[in-house]
């Protein structure tokens, strides 16, 4: 019985492909194909035909294509696949229209199977873990080498300031620092407002709203100001560094520097780290001030005047609290710029490589920031700062 595949009206059914399976008296299995063999119609026919061949392993098979009205590349692929189901000669295609026969003759069904690349062997789980671990080890090695090269380049730059490309430094400073002011202002202001609201409401129950100023002062200057600024810069400037240097790598500009005998680390990394070192602490100070402003404005609505807020913050936040946050911003600057540049220099070829480099810069940058912030927290606790 012929099975028609696919939904549709009788007119649409006429455009479908069909297969009728029968066994001839001489023992051969006959697959009578009919209709249009094209990509949109052969799905069901393909499965049905393969099953019919598999179900008769001892019978020779004839694919009768006398009623095939049309056959495109997909239809030819179906015929080739059916021929490949058995060893050479066991599946024969008969009565195919000469025009389609010419198309089928372009392919040697048996050789086609041999020509294909063998599928990549699946690695055992243990080997896979080993490969991933080796990859992480290699990444760590590159980071250590990079830290060494960058440190050497920075020391050289400090000893020979005239070798620093100051024009590049100021250009990058503008992009890292001045251009980031609006977003840093917005986020830190909102952070101050949110922190003040969230803490003032429960603390009002105890008549302790005034201590919200202490909380905001300490939290912002010691912890949140430097960390939030650094995370913003990792997303903004770290990604930009990776994308910029990554594009230069893809465009062979880094190769061009190398063959000029010029060190890419000194040319591309040093100016960015210096710019980040100059700008990140300034942006952190700016973020601290704006978040305190946000907190102060919020507390106005809780009947705490601005002067009282300032007086309270002055009383609780001492110089070592300020320095605890400020010192961190220098370390964060090196991390953000360093990881951004490293990911840029590690960029491989291909359309997605630069995007991958930017993504890796942001992800590794944020992870490193949080880890190092944790290290600082422990260090300050031990040192009683």
């Amino acid at each position: 019985m012929a099975a028609k595949y696919g939904p549709g009206t009788p007119r649409e059914q006429a455009l479908m492909a069909a297969v009728a399976i029968s066994d001839a008296t001489d023992g051969r299995r006959i697959l009578a194909l009919s209709g249009r063999l094209e990509a949109t119609t052969i799905r069901g026919v393909w499965d049905e035909s393969r099953r019919a061949i598999a179900a008769a392993p001892d019978q020779r098979v004839v694919v009768d294509a006398a009623d095939v009205d049309y056959c495109d590349g997909a239809g030819i692929a179906l015929l080739v696949d059916l021929i490949q189901q058995r060893k050479a000669g066991d599946v024969q295609v008969a009565n195919l229209h000469p025009a389609f026969e010419t198309l089928l003759q372009q392919f040697d069904a048996q050789a086609l199977g041999h020509d294909l690349d063998p599928p990549a062997p699946r690695r055992p789980a243990v080997e896979e873990i080993g490969v991933i671990t080796a990859g992480m080890g290699e990444d760590l090695r590159q980071q250590i080498v990079f830290i060494g090269e960058t440190t050497a380049a920075l020391v050289y730059a400090l000893l020979h300031p005239s070798t620093i490309r100051w024009k590049d430094v100021w250009r990058i400073c503008e992009r890292v620092g001045a251009d980031a002011l609006p977003i840093v202002a917005l986020i830190s202001f909102l952070l101050g407002v949110i922190l003040a609201f969230q803490s003032a409401i429960p603390m009002r129950k105890f008549g302790a709203e005034i201590f919200v100023a202490d909380l905001i002062g300490l939290a912002m200057l010691r912890e949140l100001g430097p960390l939030m600024t650094a995370i913003l810069l990792a997303g903004r400037s770290g990604a930009a560094f990776a994308a910029e240097i990554g594009t230069m790598t893809v465009n062979q500009e880094v190769d061009a520097l190398t063959t000029m005998g010029l060190d890419p680390v000194r040319f591309l990394v040093t100016p960015r780290i210096i710019a980040a070192l100059l700008m990140t602490p300034l942006l952190t100070l700016f973020a601290d001030l704006i978040s305190l402003l946000g907190g102060a404005m919020t507390l106005q609505s809780f009947s705490i005047p601005f002067v009282t807020f300032v007086h309270e913050v002055e009383g609780i936040v001492n110089f070592s609290d300020f320095m605890a946050g400020f010192v961190k911003s220098f370390v964060f600057a090196i991390l953000i710029a360093g990881i951004g540049c490293l990911r840029g220099l590690q960029t491989t070829a291909g359309a997605s490589a630069v995007g991958d480099a930017a993504t890796r810069a942001v992800v590794s940058g944020i992870i490193l920031l949080v880890v190092v912030d944790g290290v600082f927290a422990v260090l300050y606790f031990v040192l009683d700062i």
Partner: protein, 259 residues
Amino acid sequence: MTTPAPIADPIISVRGLTAGYGDVVLLENVGFDVRRGEVFVILGGSGSGKSTLLKHMIGLLPPQSGSVAIDGDDIIAAEGDARRAILRKIGVMYQSGALFGSMTLAENVRLPLEEYTDLTSDEIELIARMKLSLVGLGAFTGHLPAEISGGMQKRAAIARAMALDPMILFLDEPSAGLDPITSAELDALIKRLARNLDVTFVVVTHELPSIFSIADRVIMLDPRKKGIVAEGDPRKLRDESDDPWVRQFFNREAEPVAA
């Protein structure tokens, strides 16, 4: 595989070079010399290892084995200042031009001069303008690379490669992606520079018109033999080579395909 006869006092000497990526070997035990002042063309089909060979000759990639001597000094073994001294003798034009996108053409040419010389800014500017005018870009010194055409970018890249008056200029696929007229103009520029300046050119290409136009001598790489299959005057190779693949290449004949 062919091993060209050694040349007395070569400017470049490649010996026993085996190169590839990871486990894949593209070139095996390749050796040849480049004469001083000639236009030497490395040619071969796609995937034959032309650009890989060039990257090893300019020290960008370490070979699996072998040596590359530039004016007598091994660029692979050299480090630090010795390596910088060798690199000063060469200039490279990359396939994409590889101009620094944030710098004007003049700034691109100025860069190596600023790094290697103690000339004043005005003197460097004059030299940069002269180099750019030598390649016909005297009126575009203030343009960014993105503001000029692909052919002009390649000429600017040649000007930058010539900034320090190197002994050898390496050009990687100079005609790639250019229309026939621009390509012919670039060939004419290379011939003019080769004739008028005391520079050796090493050019990687598979563009036949360019090869016949500029080459004094060629070596031909065959991916199946992982090395050199022919060496000499391209016209003679086209007309007289015994190797059917070489004749096929020069006569632009397709590989026979089983019917």
